[in-house]
Symmetry: C2
Subunit: 147 residues, 2 copies
């Protein structure tokens, strides 16, 4: 059943599967979109980074989180558009070998008109130690179910 | 000269080069990170999307904007970390053939301690018609120059 605005109640929650972070993917993403040495150069990162090695681009973490969200929530939903995101925060480094998972919860919902409504989703991405590495509030426009 | 906190004054501005958006890259990014049909399936998008064809994942637009920012501003900067982003908004669809460019301006800056300071950067991504497609406020921690 495709998820519509009516199907989303405040405090509804979803938990995703896992996404395993690899060094190869960290470097590939960063080479294209965020070519800073702490994302692309493992030797320099081993020597100079306070984290002792490569960390993922924050935008890569956002993108991996989106993939987990699509697989557990948005993949069969009547979304019209994503308006944006508030309070996006990178809370801890994401490193090769991390296994990420996403929790999403409805924080607020509001009818816009007879056809659609806006939902604020609180999203947290955790690693395999259940430490929050990334969080944000997504603002998503859903279609209302037509009777 | 590597950009430090002291080099960033309120209202300083940067303008990036251009990034040309291709259908192949829209589909490749979305296949990995945002597999929704309006990003991945050109035939269905031509038939069913209000935009008449594929649009880029919002996270792809963010990633392309980051690449432009690295090339014009962050590539030679003493950044310690990006704390996060406020008020991220996807304002218009990004489509194949669009040529994106980024403007960044210092909105606010604050000393944290003797070693570092936080800078709020207002970032706007425009297309070749100078329409804003994406905007956000980036919160970035820079090293202070040591005398």
């Amino acid at each position: 059943m495709t998820l519509h605005f009516e199907d989303l109640a405040v405090d509804d929650e979803w938990t995703s599967g896992e996404y395993e972070v690899t060094e190869a993917e960290i470097r590939e993403f960063a080479k294209q979109y965020d070519p800073q040495w702490f994302h692309t150069d493992p030797d320099r990162a081993a020597d100079e980074s306070p984290y002792g090695g490569l960390i993922a681009s924050g935008w890569h973490t956002a993108a991996m989180s989106m993939r987990l969200l699509v697989d557990c929530l948005l993949g069969d939903a009547a979304t019209i558009a994503a308006r944006g995101v508030d309070e996006l925060r990178w809370r801890r480094p994401v490193q090769p070998g991390d296994r990420l998972s996403v929790r999403a919860a409805v924080e607020d919902r509001e009818v816009d008109d007879e056809n659609r409504g806006t939902v604020r989703l609180r999203i947290e991405t955790t690693n395999e130690n259940d430490e929050v590495v990334f969080s944000m509030i997504g603002i998503v426009l859903f279609a209302r179910r037509q009777e």
